[in-house]
């Protein structure tokens, strides 16, 4: 199941929720030149996941869901333009667990 929130896609596979870039977000920010993840593993709604510097903007990505980070797209640190890719396996940002399924269900359909 796939949802969207805070200009990110959220894809649920069992208990793991993968957050990735939406085409709208990619178009708005331009070519990504720098990615820095926050160190905290626990996120609340609207907490910053990562700082991004792109050709058109400098932006903090805010989490649409509360949860625990179990994976970060570390490759994007050395290769930031992966976040401009159209493929989820390249443009994903973080993977979360301990997400309230009810909160996920309430998000907008992707």
């Amino acid at each position: 199941m796939k949802k969207r929130g805070n200009f990110l896609f959220i894809e649920k596979n069992d208990d793991v929720y993968t957050l990735s870039m939406t085409p709208e977000l990619q178009d708005d920010i331009g070519t990504v030149g720098f990615v820095e993840y926050m160190n905290e593993d626990t996120l609340n709604v609207d907490d910053t996941i990562a700082n991004i510097e792109a050709s058109k903007t400098v932006i903090d990505l805010a989490s649409p869901l509360a949860g625990k980070i179990v994976g970060r797209n570390e490759v994007a640190i050395s290769e930031p333009t992966l976040l401009n890719s159209a493929k989820t396996e390249e443009n994903w940002v973080v993977k979360l667990t301990n997400v309230d399924e009810e909160a996920f269900n309430l998000l907008e359909e992707a």
Partner: protein, 260 residues
């Protein structure tokens, strides 16, 4: 030292770092002020002598107060806690004025550029750039859009400056993300003002100038965000919408009258 002598001293000091600026004419006071402003605008955030700051502060205090300074008492609320005022934001003597900054966060560095970031930094004094430089260095990265940072206002009649970077609108136009980021800029400034227990704050029309946000939509977002913030947080903040252009005055007058 009178104003003229102060200007000569300040220009002389700053020209030592910028020999090429010597070509500027300095026959009249206005030309001297333009050169002084230009030199401050392009100056990197490097340490400065105490003597310079002393003379600069004396000059700016007089220069800033030669104008009519407006405080909250001079204004009449158009709605509870909301005010509309047209003029130069650096003439306000209130708790905090909002500066439309950019992600570099050091203030406008184009000589004599006619933007709000430029005039705020010019009239506040060189200390403002030094404080912004410390903040942005401590952060270790550029300032994201939609956040806010507070500094002292130095020689401005107000007490604090709250700096926010609004969204930039390119040929693709306004998007939901950019609208949300503009709202976020307003929200972040309000939250910071309350965190510092300020009584009042004046917003410029964030993102509408150099950043191309359409004036009407920007005003709608500004008023909606402030109104919702006050309602949801029960904030006691008094909020001044500061407009500069007649176009913005019209837009805000219409929007604020309609909501009555």
């Amino acid at each position: 030292m009178d104003q003229d002598a102060r200007l000569d001293y300040l220009i002389d000091y700053l020209l030592k770092d910028n020999e090429k600026m010597k070509q500027y004419k300095t026959d009249t006071v206005d030309e001297k002020i333009a050169l002084f402003r230009a030199l401050c605008n392009i100056r990197q955030p490097e340490p400065i002598s105490e003597q310079f700051v002393k003379v600069q502060d004396a000059f700016l205090t007089q220069w800033n107060n030669e104008r009519h300074v407006t405080s909250l008492h001079d204004l009449e609320a158009i709605q509870p806690q909301l005010y509309l005022w047209q003029g130069d934001i650096t003439c306000l003597a209130i708790d905090a004025i909002v500066n439309a900054a950019n992600s570099e966060f050091l203030g406008c560095m184009q000589a004599n550029h006619q933007c709000i970031d430029n005039i705020i930094h010019t009239r506040a004094g060189v200390q403002l750039r030094l404080e912004c430089d410390e903040l942005i260095k401590a952060q270790g990265r550029k300032e994201p859009i939609g956040k806010a940072k507070i500094t002292k206002a130095y020689n401005l009649p107000s007490n604090f400056c709250i700096h926010t970077v609004g969204p930039f609108i390119d040929q693709r136009g306004v998007s939901p993300l950019r609208e949300q980021l503009l709202a976020s800029s307003y929200y972040s400034c309000l939250a910071l003002a309350d965190e510092y227990q300020l009584g009042n704050i004046a917003f410029c029309c964030i993102s509408t100038g150099e950043f191309n946000f359409p004036n009407q939509r920007a005003a709608e977002i500004a008023i909606q965000t402030v109104t919702e913030y006050i309602r949801d947080t029960r904030s006691k903040l008094h909020v001044i919408f500061n407009v500069f252009k007649d176009e913005d005055l019209q837009i805000y007058q219409t929007l604020l009258a309609r909501k009555e």
